[in-house]
């Protein structure tokens, strides 16, 4: 087997980094909800699909300008997240964690059905945010869209960090994550924080879908794979740790890309292999779990 040369390696890394950024966003969505409720939201992938599909409808069908289309997608999925919490999670809030997780699986199947019913079963195209001329970097070549993805992910991470560390709301959310009862005792409306975490997760998922669909197209069932990749990334980084989620996403993206460079049949097995290895060898993930007892 030939070893990749420097230019090939660079291309693998760049491709991996781009995909990894998207995984990181999805993983962060898992993390937020996990911290607020202790559950894993298996409808996270559907948030991504809805983000992509709404953005495509706004931009392609309605002809809205791209930033507006993305904004509507993000806002729409944030609303969807909040509605999901109110309609499905909150009525069952006294149920066990496992019941709630199963509810999210049900929600994901329901949302997929809606997506196929509204948008049909074919993949839908979306134009690039700007330009389709590839940019050459040291023998590798990327699209402006790659830069958009990495840039938007970076800005989002920064904004989330500010929200979490510097604002009252963020501190309240973190307090709920550490100890919900104690947070409630000091007057934090924990139930609203849970809804907020679903809305924020929806936002992240929606944004991930909107920025990736110019490369990957939008399709009703795209959330299955992307959701699982994001989940694997969250496990890799340590479920519950936002920094870990980002790290896990980027690492998984790069691992996948490098792995596919050696043997492409392996590519989609990597996420699951990583997940299994981490769960067996280091269940708390790379950075351990912060924000849990």
């Amino acid at each position: 087997m030939n070893l990749p040369d420097a230019a090939q390696l660079l291309q693998y890394l760049i491709s991996g980094l781009t995909l990894g950024s998207v995984y990181a966003m999805i993983a962060l969505g898992f993390t937020l909800i996990h911290n607020a409720t202790g559950i894993v939201n298996f409808a996270q992938g559907e948030f991504v699909a809805f983000g992509a599909l709404i953005a495509i409808s706004c931009s392609t069908t309605l002809g809205l300008p791209m930033p507006l289309a993305v904004l509507i997608a993000v806002a729409g999925v944030a609303l969807l997240g909040a509605a999901l919490e109110r309609a499905a999670i909150r009525p069952a809030r006294r149920a066990s964690v496992i019941t709630l997780i199963i509810i999210t699986i049900g929600a994901s199947i329901f949302l997929r059905g809606i997506a196929m019913w509204v948008w049909g079963s074919d993949a839908l195209p979306m134009r690039y945010f700007s330009g389709d001329e590839p940019i050459g970097i040291g023998g590798a070549s990327i699209l402006p869209q790659h830069l958009w993805i990495v840039g938007i992910v970076l800005v989002t991470m920064a904004a989330l960090w500010v929200l979490g560390e510097k604002t009252q709301v963020g501190k309240a959310m973190r307090a709920c994550a550490v100890d919900r009862d104690a947070a409630q005792l000091v007057g934090i409306p924990a139930s609203r924080m849970v809804m907020l975490s679903f809305a924020l997760s929806g936002m992240l998922g929606g944004l991930a879908g909107a920025i990736v669909c110019p490369l990957a197209m939008g399709q009703w069932d795209m959330g299955i794979t992307l959701g699982l990749k994001g989940f694997a990334a969250a496990i890799l980084g340590g479920m519950g740790n936002p920094v870990g989620a980002v790290l896990g996403g980027v690492l998984l993206g790069i691992l996948e890309s490098l792995g596919a460079g050696f043997w492409s049949g392996l590519k989609n097995a990597i996420a699951f292999a990583v997940m299994l290895i981490v769960l067996l060898a280091r269940p708390s993930g790379l950075l351990g779990a912060r924000g849990r007892q």
């Binding site: 030939n2 990749p4 196929m116 074919d122 993949a123 839908l124 590839p134 596919a260 460079g261």
Partner: protein
Amino acid sequence: MRSPTRMLVVLTALLAGLVWAVGCGEQPAEQPGPQPVTGDPYVIGAMFAITGDASSLGIPEKETAEMLEQMINGDGGINGRPLKIVIEDTTGDNAEALKAARRLVEGNDVLLVVGPSRTGTTMAAVEYMEGAEVPLISCAAGIDIVEPAKKWIFKTPQTDRMAIEKIIEYMAGQNITRVASLSDSTGFGKSGLREIEKLMPAAGIRVVTKEEYGPKDTSMETQLTKIRGTNAQAVVCWGTPPGPAIVAKNLRQLGMDIPLICSHGVANETFLKIAGDAANDVVLPAGRLIVVDQIDADDPQRPVLEEYAQEFSKRYGKSADTFGGHAWDAVKLAALAMGQAGEDREAIRDAIESTTDFIGTGGVFNYSAEDHNGLTKDAFVMVKVVDGKWKLAR
């Protein structure tokens, strides 16, 4: 707080119900056609993936079958008696396909069954149909359906083997001797890869690397980057949209200018739509339907293709597609066989098997005891995408 939540749930459910009801109302009402034919109908069954993720195949197939039922009955029926097609939905699912087959055979006592749409769903029903001794004319592509030939099982679509034989013929004309294969990890991609590995080296074409991608993958940059490092003169991509569309886009992005040869699985409008500009210059084998306006005027298939294309777009207001064409061929073949053999299943089966020179949308069929598909590689033509349109490559 509990009752407002419940209200919300109920309201959402009501709304969903309403939306669903409106959606159902949109379906075209059955147009009553003239029924000059009398007597007991010949009842045949049809099962397609009308819903589910293969519905882009199943819907045109169902529409074509319904259209043909009316056309045949408006045209004197079969031996003066009407044709009745009972249609079931397989949802593209193997277990559902088997159930649908049982319902057709045991519940409706059909003379034969047309469909299903997919190789997997066909294979799921094969054993049952063989046991029940009811002929099945599948609309799925997989070669396993007819190889080895099974007594009661036939099919109308061309196989991937014919597609690859056609591609090899094209490559010989282009002096391409080294290719990279890039196939998806579904049954379709794997079967294509198997035929590529078997047929291409035998024809003197070296497959320099074999790469794979998942049907839901969002980027094939890595695989193409690896291919760029080889001396391949063309990429042969075996998959159904959206995969090959992403491959076409990634190829542009990486600045690779080697030809992209795709499978007949991308010969549909979806591919053109989602690949956009990147579809240009893609070469693929395809049935003649998508280039019906460009084939020779004396091509034996031309009248059939034109009739199908015109009737379909007249009735449904959209263009006919290859998959619907498979159903056209299957129903026509069934009608032909019943016209000769009447209502005896064994005789119908024998009539299908001895059908020769049957001109369909997929090719000119010559069935025999060994060949239950009846086509050769010449059922395909090579097509190139030029300015977002199919152009016959000569």
